[in-house]
Subunit: 508 residues, 2 copies
């Protein structure tokens, strides 16, 4: 019987790829934390080489033949092996669509574009980026051409990040969400007033180490395992799984506002807890990873917002924060909770509050579709951006830095596929939270007592442990008993930000 | 003409290997600095996989054929290419001696032994290590068996680290050195008194960050380029080249003695300056590395001892040190210089002073030869160790922690080949320094003025820039005008530590 040896061979190949991936992840982590300035040039080459070796292994005909033989014996295999087979076959099939040379081209272009973006930002100069962005749009279209069956040019990129999603599914979802959010923002500001741009948790002096320490302490209280992780500074915070037992977070510190370090840490810890919660049996295989951008973001946002900005959490966290920062002693629970939940129509996505955040995302999603479809020229992008911000948020950027140059995504990879995950994540965060609350009971009371383990355990069991075993849609269905829906999210936002509107809606 | 395309293919292969090596180096650096506890297990596997991929590439028959074709066209090649061909051919020839499976065996055994060593140290228990060390001796002998032409079982391992060296060459050299050092230590202690175990630069409180900062500042003054490097904490300090523009050092801090951080930093900066000084044209090839353990150590010891423990250096450094640590304000230049140059017959190699250091190394060198030759059983090692320490240094370990368990080398790799480089380095440090001084003039005066660039430039031109282009012996000859000799070193030690003896010797 050939099956066991084919399985062994498959697992051996995947383990080697996992080891290469671990090395690539560490190179990437280091690039964003500790890499000396002069080491930057060669780092891109190291990463490109590992990417090439990974791609070679993915498209190795011998791997394909092994998969085909296993496919034919699928009924003999266990459930885990069948899930593995499905996922590896999908990865192989997608990797085989494009030649290795295309990957080299896009990697090199992305590195050049990223480097230019750094310079363009110094002078808030979009003209410097326009030709590079045009090339990026062209390469993104070329990527789509490797998937001729796709309905929309963005679909292959979206499907890479959020399996099963498409422009056809997202457009109505986002339109519905936008239509609900616009009046909700109005109502919230009418009820609560609009915040200024002052710090949410103001500090008088730079206390970088103390800020990081208290933020990490709270992340650890939520369930981020420090024996299998660590926290470092980075300009653009991220979480990264290097291997089992090694899932790291990075944090940004604002010297005058604790909220920056605190919420960026809780956010990244949410991503990290997902990866730390993968079932050990997935190790060394393609299943050992979060399943999609949207599901990943649902966990970072759930821990950051539904936990970290809840009333119960602040009853627990405020005394801890105040012990380290006595200057925040004037805040009571009510004031602290209000302070970290202010609403403001602003220009920068990463600084946006929970309520306006998705409007930023939907603007980018819509504009990137227009770019791909050729309905918007790159040179007209800043003006289109300005119009949409004026229309949806009532504000307009003074310069490109608070406009089109603010996000790294279009300047370090493809145009398309990178933004929808943020909003899918927000939407799903409430859907998962609602399901967990139905199962566990009053979470706010638990949070107030510093008890986060029941929620963590529920998420581990229903989301984290699976890794990539279930496609995102099936994972959502199984965990929450229903398909993805914006209703739990809108109802959460209404209850929290516009209770009067919520009551009106309920009494209708 | 096939030569250019063979050269291109060779360079492409070497570049890929260099990229894999960079990834392995970063994994190694991280393993010793920031790796979370739970990540330790999989890290060994990542490193083993990269080592295997590197080995596969080294023994690839296609590479061998390319080298053979280039060999035949050698007269058409430039000098750099011919040097490259020689070095790569040597690497390939040596790697092809053993099967990949042997490398996996020794790597796994080394990892298990290293892990056990950590536990054995906690309980100062040699019995725990004895069976593992026996296996290490066996594997070291097996390694030697792949080089049947070697005169001594240790020769292949010595030749790996210090090309061209052998037991036959080292035994008389070390015997001569030992015979000269034993009375020199006596004389120095008679002239200067023997130091106690008190700190050389005592600090009252833990000031880790300040210690690291001042040490790094001085390393940077010597010429360590911080734009292409960085400093982190590690239990066992090391320097590591990850790539061009990325050569890092690590440092150990003793809370009560600045000398630990200071001299470990200067030592590792010496290693790093060597790697930072490689000619840019060597990048991405097998030539881009220090040429041997001995030459490498000569540079760490030169900057640590011949510069960092010199009178001139302390005239320059003391005010800088005292600005950060006013509690050292009671020291004058004379006292500081004396304090960092105390002589003491001690038990621990890494804490030994310049004068006794090589006696520690020679004990290890002699004992490992006896182990390999089967003249000493592993179980008798502690007693043999004890006898030699009693004989050469007049002290005997109270436990295995200050005895046979102190060094990681025998417990994390082979027995053989790891120690001779330290003493070769000490010997060569003085030989290079003497040659530089002949060329440049009074270095001590320059050091006192904080001027280290002329020495650095001389070393870069005569040592660093070459990388592996010249075999060690040829490099020494070209740079110093003579073959390796212990005389410059003994004369340096005599002048510094036993001037009366030196005068007597001169007047005879």
């Amino acid at each position: 019987m050939a099956a066991p040896s084919d399985l062994d061979s498959l697992r051996e190949r995947l383990r080697e790829m996992d080891d290469l991936q671990a090395a690539a992840s560490l190179l990437h982590w280091d690039q964003n934390t500790y890499l000396p300035r002069r080491g930057a040039a060669s780092r891109g080459r190291h990463l490109a080489t590992l990417e090439r070796l990974l791609h070679e292994r993915r498209v190795d005909p011998e791997l394909r033949r092994t998969l085909e033989r296993l496919e034919r014996r699928s009924p003999e295999l266990g459930e885990l092996e069948r899930d593995l087979l499905r996922v590896v076959s999908r990865d192989v099939e997608r990797a085989a669509r494009y030649p290795a040379s295309f990957m080299v081209t896009i990697t090199e272009h992305a590195a050049a574009s990223f480097e230019a973006w750094g310079r363009a930002r110094e002078e808030a100069d979009f003209a410097l980026m326009a030709p590079l962005l045009e090339r990026t749009v062209e390469l993104s279209r070329q990527y789509a051409s490797f998937f001729p069956e796709a309905d929309h040019l963005a679909d292959p990129l979206i499907d890479d990040a959020d399996e099963g999603m498409s422009v056809a599914a997202l457009r109505p979802l986002f339109a519905h969400l936008r239509a609900a959010l616009l009046p909700l923002v109005e109502a919230a500001i009418a009820e609560r007033g609009e915040a200024g741009s002052q710090p949410a948790l103001p500090l008088a002096s730079v206390q970088e180490a103390a800020q990081m320490r208290v933020a990490l302490r709270l992340a650890s209280a939520l369930g981020y395992d420090l024996d299998g992780g660590r926290q470092d500074l980075a300009l653009h915070p991220f979480a990264i799984r290097i291997a089992q037992g090694d899932v790291r977070i990075t944090t940004r510190v604002d010297p005058t506002d604790l909220a920056e370090a605190l919420f960026s840490t809780l956010h990244e810890a949410g991503h990290a807890m997902y990866e730390q919660g993968l079932s050990a049996e997935l190790n060394g295989t393609s299943l050992a990873s979060g399943v999609s951008a949207g599901i990943h973001e649902s966990q970072s946002r759930l821990w950051e917002n539904l936990v970290g900005r809840s009333r119960g959490f602040w009853r627990y966290a405020l005394p801890i924060v105040q012990r380290t920062f006595p200057e925040l002693g004037h805040l009571d629970e009510e004031a602290a909770h209000r302070s970290v939940n202010q609403v403001r129509r602003s220009l920068v996505r990463t600084e946006a509050d929970e309520l306006t955040y998705n409007l930023h995302v939907i603007i980018r999603f819509d504009l990137e579709l227009e770019l791909l479809e050729g309905r918007l020229a790159v040179t007209d992008l800043p003006e289109a951006w300005r119009e949409r911000y004026q229309r949806d948020l009532g504000v307009a950027p003074q310069d490109h830095l608070e406009g089109v140059l603010q996000d790294v995504h279009w300047f370090s990879g493809f145009v398309g596929g990178a933004f929808q995950g943020y909003t899918l994540g927000n939407v799903l965060s409430a859907q998962f939270f609602e399901a967990a609350r139905s199962a566990i009971g009053d979470l706010d009371e638990q949070f107030a007592a510093g008890t986060f383990a029941p929620l963590h355990a529920w998420l581990r069991e229903h989301v984290y442990a699976y890794g990539r075993r279930l496609p995102p849609a099936e994972l959502v269905e199984r965990a929450t008993g229903r398909a993805l829906s914006v209703e739990p999210y809108l109802s959460y936002l209404r209850d929290k930000y516009a209770p009067n509107l919520a009551r009106e809606a309920a009494s209708k």
